[in-house]
């Protein structure tokens, strides 16, 4: 469905991202992990032609057989939101603060479909139910600042899935959220992906979060993909030193045995029991 070949993103002749090949099949959930500056966000922005103008992009990005690189803004606008949608890290900065929630969710439908006003209204309520927003009839008239971070991210997801895209790009969608809300949003993305066979490219620096949603993981470092494989293989038997270091640096929650050992060695003064 998506195929990236010989992609090179550069600025003033300096290469920022260089990817020989990366592809995703329909309905596949692909994780893109790496640290700040590894090029993961630039990579996904280039798919939708959202890179700053000062950056040069070469190579090929095809989606459902059509080449995306070199398309005009007008042509890309038809694809954005309809075929490929995106959810960003900070929902409070991605929503229009002066527009009511209902209108924002319906925006893609107004742009990409011929639905009547009342049908759109109905569809917006359905979408809000779909992302488990409580009391959608009331929420549609609210402004973004009246919602919590988790609710705002649900609104972003409702907007993104409104035209049933075949690919959803989620760039650190849960990083700004509390852990319990994070878990709910991940469950929601998984369910939506399964229900409509929607492919997901999930970008995050957090390996645990990526592991929870992805079938395959691509590890990025210094603008290149250093390792790519099924999630279990990357997490449990990484071959590249950088991946190993990244996994080592991602702390997991220690189990009871480990905790007892830590209490014994690290905290010999502990009045534990």
């Amino acid at each position: 469905m998506l195929e990236i070949n010989n992609l090179r993103i550069s600025i003033a002749g300096k290469t920022l991202v260089e990817i020989d090949h990366l592809s995703a099949t329909p309905g596949e959930r692909l994780g893109l992990v790496g640290e700040s500056g590894s090029g993961k966000t630039l990579t996904v922005l280039s798919i939708l032609g959202l890179l700053p103008e000062m950056m040069d992009v070469e190579g090929s990005i095809t989606f459902a057989g059509q080449e995306l690189l070199g398309k005009s803004d007008k042509e890309l606008a038809k694809i954005r939101g309809r075929d490929i949608a995106m959810v960003f890290q900070d929902p409070s900065r991605s929503l229009n603060p002066t527009m009511k929630i209902g209108r924002q969710i319906g925006e893609s439908l107004r742009l990409h479909t011929d639905l009547s006003k009342s049908d759109i209204k109905q569809k917006v309520i359905e979408l809000m139910h779909g992302v488990q927003l409580q009391d959608p009839e009331k929420l549609v008239t609210r402004y973004p600042h009246e919602l919590s971070g988790g609710q705002q991210q649900r609104v972003m997801i409702a907007m993104a899935i409104s035209c049933k895209p075949s690919l959803l790009i989620a760039d650190e969608p849960t990083t700004a959220l509390d852990v319990t809300v994070q878990q709910e949003i991940l469950k929601l993305l998984l369910r939506l992906s399964n229900e409509s066979n929607m492919g997901v490219i999930f970008v995050s620096h957090n390996l645990g979060v990526v592991q929870a949603v992805s079938e395959r993981i691509a590890v990025m470092h210094n603008g290149e993909i250093v390792e790519l494989g099924p999630t279990s293989q990357i997490i449990d038997s990484p071959t590249v030193a950088y991946t190993k270091a990244l996994i080592g640096a991602n702390p997991s929650i220690p189990n009871e045995q480990e905790l007892s050992r830590l209490l014994g060695t690290r905290f010999p003064t502990s009045r534990g029991e």
Binding site: E35, S36, G149, T174, D178, V179, T180, Q182, Q183, L186, H205, N206, L207, G208, V209, Q211, A212, S232, I235, D236, A245, L246, I247, G248, A249, N250, P251, S252, I253, P254, N255, E256, L259, S260, L262, L263, R266, F267, T269, S270, R271, G272, E273
Partner: protein, 255 residues
């Protein structure tokens, strides 16, 4: 005897607003490493500002080393600052952008010990936190986030505090840098015999860094215990939900 304790603390930011801290009592034993966890808005950052004397509670008492916080403030405000130091989440916002790091690092010694530390003393603190003394001539924007957080640790340590309050000290850092800063924090704690109070939303970090954990929700302490009690056998519904969610999004290995 606990090194810091709070009795029935109540605090709110606006005089008629809701209580941000609502009847919290807790005690922290000397030399221990205590984690305070909870979600945004639970009051975890506010409580360490109250315990360190940065904020004053409307009701209740804070007892530091056997003496009431009010007495400390009146009689020995400088000693109070020296006793408990804080390190914040964003190292960038913890430094004056126009002040060279050498000067920034010397500020607590100038203010609390009324003397000018020499280059050698400042350099040794830089070395202690794994940085080159040459960086002392730089400005904050010339260092990475991880390097800056090391300098803020050095700055906090330079006046020999008994208690270090660290408020999400690694949340703004990349995961590999996070591990390095946490290891440094652990090392300093052991070497200097510090009491560490670590505020974090990250249960994996707290589980590895702290022997005791205090769980806060909506301004109250809902559960308190050893790291094993809280992470392996949580009792309160809120803690159970928090631990379950954290496990769901934390890295899992097949074996």
């Amino acid at each position: 005897m606990p090194i810091v304790s709070a009795n029935n603390l109540k605090f709110r930011y606006a005089s008629s607003g809701p209580w941000t801290i609502n009847d919290v009592s807790l005690s922290i034993e000397s030399g221990t490493s205590v984690g305070i966890v909870g979600e945004s808005g639970s009051g975890k950052s506010t409580i360490i500002r109250l315990l360190s004397g940065l904020l004053k509670a409307q009701e209740g008492d804070v007892i530091i080393d056997g003496k009431n916080l009010d007495e400390w403030s009146k009689e020995a405000p400088r000693d109070l600052r020296r006793f408990g130091q804080l390190v914040f989440q964003s190292p960038r916002r913890s430094f004056d952008p126009r002040m060279r790091l050498g000067r920034a690092l010397s500020e607590p010694i100038r203010a609390l010990e009324k003397r000018k530390p020499n280059a050698e003393e400042l350099g040794s603190w830089m070395t202690r936190v794994g940085l080159s003394p040459e960086l002392l001539n730089r400005y904050p924007h010339q260092l990475s986030g991880g390097q800056l957080q090391r300098v803020s640790l050095a700055r906090a340590m330079s006046i020999g505090p008994q208690v270090l309050y660290a408020d999400e000290p690694t949340s703004s850092l990349d995961v590999s840098v996070q591990a390095q800063v946490l290891n440094l924090l652990m090392e300093l704690r052991t070497d200097l015999g510090l009491t560490l109070v670590l505020v974090s939303h990250d249960l994996a970090v707290v589980g590895r860094m702290c022997e005791r954990i205090i769980v806060m929700s909506r301004g109250c302490v809902v559960e308190e215990g050893t790291a094993v009690d809280i992470l392996a056998n949580p009792k309160h519904e809120y803690t159970k939900g928090l631990v379950e969610a954290a496990k769901a999004v934390s890295l899992k290995h097949a074996n």
